[in-house]
């Protein structure tokens, strides 16, 4: 992927992440205020496709966004050659994607 696409992708995903974080915090606040138990929360989100879609989008944006930013930090850090940094960050993106989506799936449809 070109450097140009990476810069653009980081910006685009940042624009997705900002409203996602706000919504996420709002949801937590509501759950707290209503004094919901874990069981009640799970009851609300289970089989809720809208909820699953929202958090899946959140996970995908984070998995793209964070490794691109951390990549330039690792390059500066200088401990790894550039190619190695790219490989490690690609692996990190995949890890975030898999663990994140797995968590969303497990909450909405039960453990896989």
């Amino acid at each position: 992927m070109s450097e140009r696409s990476l810069i653009v992708l980081q910006r685009l995903t940042a624009m997705v992440l900002a409203p996602c974080v706000i919504a996420h915090v709002a949801v937590i606040a509501i759950a707290f205020r209503d004094g919901l138990t874990a069981g009640e929360i799970l009851g609300r989100v289970q089989d809720n496709v809208g909820w699953a879609a929202f958090y899946a989008l959140f996970v995908i944006a984070a998995a793209v966004h964070a490794p691109i930013g951390l990549r330039s930090v690792l390059v500066e850090w200088g401990a790894l050659p550039r190619r190695m940094v790219d490989i490690v960050m690609a692996a990190f993106a995949v890890l975030l994607l898999i663990t994140g989506l797995r968590a969303v799936f497990a909450v909405v449809w039960g453990a896989p």
Binding site: E3, R4, S5, L6, V8, R11, V75, E76, W77, R82
Partner: protein
């Protein structure tokens, strides 16, 4: 008897040491005046660079008490509050001798960043007018007065950490070009700005902006480049 100030001056290249000179204080004395005084009266072998002495040529930058500055427009009274001056060559550039650095990497990166204008018209065409009040012209205006002093380059930690980083001045120049409507290769120029070591490496933390002696903000210019890259997506370029 006139008052004097102890001035610690870096002597030598990478391997070297500080040498202390006592220099007579005068009214309205600049740091460059001090260096010149040392060279004229105490040690003619002291190497440093200057030309215009009035803040135009960009050749006199040094590290003054740990901070990169243009020495011809820096008053001693302003920077030597503790009564001592420590003068070193600019950071992030190879040291040649004493206070002179090799500026080659700085200007090589200027080339690599691709800030070269390419016209669309020939000498036979009418002049393409640029409206002074247009947004693009105003953006270019805000960044155009760079004197190539490399103060920002010395101030930037990313330059220190990543030897491939093009640095604030070169990217600031590219931003002025991207805003020149007469420039024929805007998309190629943006490609170069985004190259490995380009605008994606900047952390927007602003040391360049803080130290630029003519008050430019390469930070803003680089943010502008990132924004332009995002908008170029609307034109179908990713």
């Amino acid at each position: 008897m006139t008052d004097t100030i102890p001035v610690r001056v870096w002597r030598g290249g990478d391997a070297g040491a500080f040498q202390t000179f006592d220099v007579a204080l005068r009214d309205n004395q600049t740091v460059l005046d001090i260096v010149t005084d040392i060279q004229r009266r105490q040690d003619p072998t002291l190497s440093y660079r200057f030309a215009c002495r009035v803040g135009v040529c960009g050749s006199c930058a040094m590290t003054v008490n740990g901070v990169p500055r243009w020495t011809c427009r820096t008053h001693v009274a302003k920077v030597a509050a503790e009564g001592v001056l420590t003068l070193e060559p600019l950071r992030n550039l190879p040291r040649l001798k004493d206070l002179a650095v090799d500026m080659t990497p700085f200007f090589d990166k200027w080339q690599k960043a691709g800030g070269t204008f390419e016209g669309r018209k020939t000498r036979d065409d009418a002049v393409d007018p640029v409206k002074p009040g247009s947004r693009a012209r105003k953006a270019a205006d805000a960044a155009i007065e760079c004197i190539n002093c490399a103060v920002c380059y010395a101030a930037c930690d990313v330059v220190d950490w990543d030897p491939d980083y093009l640095g604030p001045a070169a990217l600031n120049r590219v931003w002025t070009l991207v805003n020149d409507r007469r420039h024929a290769r805007r998309s190629d120029t943006l490609d170069k700005a985004a190259q490995s070591g380009g605008c994606g490496s900047c952390h927007s933390q602003g040391a360049c902006m803080r130290h630029c002696p003519v008050g430019l903000s390469p930070t803003e210019s680089i943010a502008g480049l990132k924004r332009a890259l995002l908008f170029s997506l609307l034109g179908g370029r990713l």
